[in-house]
Amino acid sequence: MNDNLAKMREAAKRALESGDVGYVIGWGATKFPDKTSPLFMRKPEDAERLVWNEYAIPGIAKYLLDDLYPDKPIGVFVRGCDSRAINRMMKDNRIKRENLRLLGIPCDGKDDERCTICRNRNPLVYDELLWDEAPTPEPKDRYFRANAVEAMSADGRYAYWSEVFDQCIRCYACRNICPACNCKECYVDMTATGFQGKQHSRSDNLIFGVTRAFHVGDRCIECGECERVCPMGLPIMGQTQKILKDINELVGDYESGVDAESENYLGVFDLDDKDEFM
């Protein structure tokens, strides 16, 4: 770990010293020993504040959306999940590859439930790789939440989601962190269209839950950041996992963000798609 941290600090320092990048995004310490926060390093000496430990969990790629037109490329440390987030946003035309300087850091897995379903610890897109890749361990059940909910009865499922979304405070933190939620304006903020009721009621919360899932749906990169940032600790990956599970069942192996070219499931069709309608 220390070796790797040294390499990361060195890489960040080098990049900032060369003047090739405007700043580098990584992880920094917080006053809580078991939490890290995103760190924006602007000067070479900032690299000393970089942290890389088992708590360097947060996804940092989404911050790229806050600076879409940088004067200089932005340096970002990318693990597998960050690289998929970047592919996602590139596919959605939101960020440009030439604005990025990607420092690849194969991840060793963190102590987090969401990391147990990780399918790509190694970055899938990068400019340089700071250390050797290691194989990703066999992921646990990719659809662990969805499978649990599917096992319930219809009434049980409704009761389950009602209980979940009754607690939702509609802070939209899940949206803000999600790399697939990268629209310029979010539908929930567009009252004129009237797609989303603004009341804090069960129905509007449930509808928000379903709609968020459907909007992310085929583009979800399965990073689980939505759950990490949820202040109410709601298991909302259960919704997106269901959609991915169905897509995988319908058309075979489907994974979003593994590259920046593959078409989204809902953006194309096949004449022989399964027809469940009569």
Binding site: Y69, D92, N93, K184, E185, G194, L266, G267
Partner: protein, 659 residues
């Protein structure tokens, strides 16, 4: 607040018998935004329409809801009516209370309730109607016909005769296509060249027709009325502006290479005309076989040309022209049977000919001046086997479809052999004999009377034994194996779409069917149109057919083109997609889904803080958009919306039903 007028129609008793019209009117009066509501026996009638116009005037109505029959029936009628009023024709909603209410329900109370709900929905939607204006796009009064076969020539002549300019594009150095290769045409046996070459000359000399030979389409942009087509003229190495077509160069050229026109049955020089009657009647140099162009030595043609037309430095040249309409007349090719039918020798035996090779062989201007002789040794055949459906009706090896013309030209080939070489034995192997056409069955009958022997069954194997071609097969009517020791075999092979059709269709956004034939807009009712506005079909690019059908098809396409080009401008439906720029993030989801390539991502200038930036947003081409709205459902933000069926309008309808 909007001022909506609601007009409920009795439709005689069609509606009034099941729906309490007075109640419906009374309840409409209570709806928000409704300034006036009334009823009439026949809204669509002259007095009915007048009543609406008067009410618009008297009550200052700004939008109208008509509860009547299906909008599919009278929407256009009422829109037309509104043109004479202050109300925009698109500020109209129709509540379908006849087909979808009074005619399908019997309980008057319940039907009335439903009619009230339907009216409520329409009123809610109407409240969100906005004035829309049909825009008109100017039409470039020129047509581009792609393909210079008989279909293209016919279409071009018809369009040109109607007074419009036509560019007739052909990738070969001469127009004429497949028909120019044929000897005689069934069932009348008139000489193909005698009837097609005058048409070629007409096309070449027509003041409204510009020939673009040796040309290919490279790129296309735009839409109906305004296609910008980029065309590449392949280098000819001969200056056609001064060439008189004297032909001296052809006689002196030392190169001998296979003649495409004669399907390899004869040789031609490197500087050549496709065939003697070529239009334009001027040679080109084949850069792949010319010694000067491949090896740098020779230059004989340049030396002998009395006018100095030869230009070895000639290059491919691209140019862009605008056309109002496009006609696909790209024709067909014969399937490459050699790759598919190894059991027939796979092309190893020179005395096995395709139908088109036989046409050249039997043609008076062909390689043997019309003498039917074996290419291998020049002897007249005593026994000829004609095999039909090679590649057609054979889903395992070739195509599943019937190529339509083969039955008849097989009969014609048999007739010609029996005519020119009396006493020859001609066997025709067939699956079925299909002769739907004027005089076709009679011709087939005559051929049998002439002595052609029809054997029902496919040939399973053809191999060489001495100088004979042994054809093994089965006579399925007798249930017996048959073996024909033939001197010559003619394979009547399947028609397939011309090479390059995929690229061309993709360029224009035209659909192809499973066999790559161009898909017509409707198989019954729109057989010469494609689903892309302004792109029409002529001849075999749409599917196999014979000459009379091709010519009829081409003339039909020309009629469609003429009726389009006769207009100086075309009105487009204003019910198309619109993008709210400030909300669009340029993700391109809509672009992918649009079936008409009407949406493109466009870079716009924007500001982020103090920074001027360029960012992509979706942009709708109003000439291409057909108003399907598929893009709107793909847009998560709702930044793209469909005029006339806006998200907000549909939601209003939903809400009004739920009220």
């Amino acid at each position: 607040m909007s001022k909506i007028g609601v007009f409920v129609c009795h439709c005689g008793t069609n509606i009034a018998n099941t729906v309490d019209v007075e109640r419906a009117v009374a309840s409409a009066r209570e709806l928000p935004g409704v300034a006036f509501a009334s009823e009439y026996k026949y809204m669509c009638s002259e007095p009915g329409q007048q009543m609406i116009k008067d009410a618009i005037e008297e009550y200052g109505l700004d939008r109208v809801v008509i509860a009547s029959c299906s909008p599919r029936m009278h929407e256009t009628t009422f829109r037309k009516m509104l043109k004479d009023t202050k109300v925009n024709p698109y500020m109209l909603e129709i509540a379908n209370i006849r087909e979808q209410c009074s005619w399908v329900h019997t309980d008057k109370a319940k039907a009335t309730e439903k009619a009230i709900r339907l009216i409520r929905m329409s009123v809610a939607k109407a409240a969100r109607d906005e004035p829309l204006f049909a825009s008109s796009i100017p039409i470039e009064k020129r047509a581009l016909v792609i393909g210079g076969g008989i279909a293209g020539i016919q279409a071009a002549l018809d369009i040109a005769d109607a007074g419009h300019e036509v560019a007739l594009l052909e990738r070969e150095p001469s127009i004429g296509g497949k028909m120019a290769m044929l000897d005689k045409t069934f069932p009348t046996l008139d000489c193909s060249a005698c009837i097609s070459t005058p048409k070629m000359v007409d096309a070449g000399a027509h003041p409204n027709i510009k020939l673009l030979t040796s040309c290919e389409v490279v790129k296309t942009e735009g839409y109906i009325g305004n296609f910008q087509v980029t065309i590449r003229r392949n280098a000819r190495y001969v200056n056609h502006d001064i060439c008189t077509g004297c032909g001296l160069c052809e006689t002196k050229c030392p190169v001998k290479t296979d003649s495409e026109f004669n399907h390899g049955l004869s040789k031609r020089p490197a500087i050549y005309k496709l065939f003697p009657q070529a239009v334009p009647s001027k040679p080109v140099i084949d850069k792949n076989s010319c010694l000067k162009l491949t090896k740098g030595k020779c230059g004989v043609c340049e030396k002998v040309c009395p006018l100095g037309c030869i230009d070895y430095a000639d290059e491919d040249r691209e140019f862009t022209e605008t056309f109002g309409a496009i006609v696909f007349a790209t024709g067909y090719e014969l399937i490459d049977w050699t790759a598919l039918y190894g059991e027939y020798g796979g092309g190893r035996y020179p005395d096995m000919l395709t139908g088109l090779q036989f046409e050249r062989l039997v043609n008076a201007s062909g390689p043997t001046e019309g003498h039917i002789v074996r290419p291998s040794d020049g002897k007249e055949p005593k026994t000829v086997a004609i095999v039909k459906c090679v590649g057609s009706r054979d889903p395992k090896k070739g195509k599943s479809y019937c190529s339509r013309a083969c039955c008849m030209y097989a009969a014609k080939h048999a007739h010609q052999i029996l005519d020119k070489l009396p006493g020859t034995r001609v066997f025709i192997f067939y699956i079925d004999v299909r002769t739907p056409g004027k005089g076709y069955e009679e011709f087939y009958d005559q051929t049998r009377k002439d002595g052609a022997i029809y054997v029902r069954g496919r040939i399973s194997k053809i191999y060489k034994d001495g100088d004979k071609l042994v054809c093994n097969g089965e006579d399925t009517l007798l249930g017996k194996q048959v073996k024909v020791m033939a001197d010559m075999v003619v394979l009547e092979t399947a028609m397939t779409p011309s090479s390059g059709i995929e690229e061309l269709a993709t360029m224009f956004g035209v659909a192809r069917d499973v066999n790559d034939w161009i898909q017509e807009a409707h198989p019954k009712l729109r057989p010469v149109e494609t689903q892309v506005g302004g792109v029409f079909l002529a001849g075999t690019c749409q599917g196999p057919r014979d000459i009379p059908d091709t010519v009829a098809h081409a003339s039909a396409a020309a009629a469609k083109v003429v009726s389009l080009l006769n207009k100086s401008e075309m009105e487009t439906s204003p019910m198309i997609s619109v993008v709210r720029r400030e909300h669009c993030c340029g993700c391109g989801a809509c672009e992918k889904i649009c079936p008409y390539t009407a949406i493109t991502l466009e870079e716009i200038d924007d500001r982020v803080g103090a920074k001027r930036v360029k960012r992509p947003i979706a942009s709708v081409n109003s000439g291409l958009c057909q108003g399907c709205g598929a893009c709107t459902a793909a847009c998560r933000t709702g930044a793209i919306d469909l005029l006339g069926f806006r998200n907000a309008q549909i939601l209003e309808e939903v809400d009004a039903l739920c009220l």
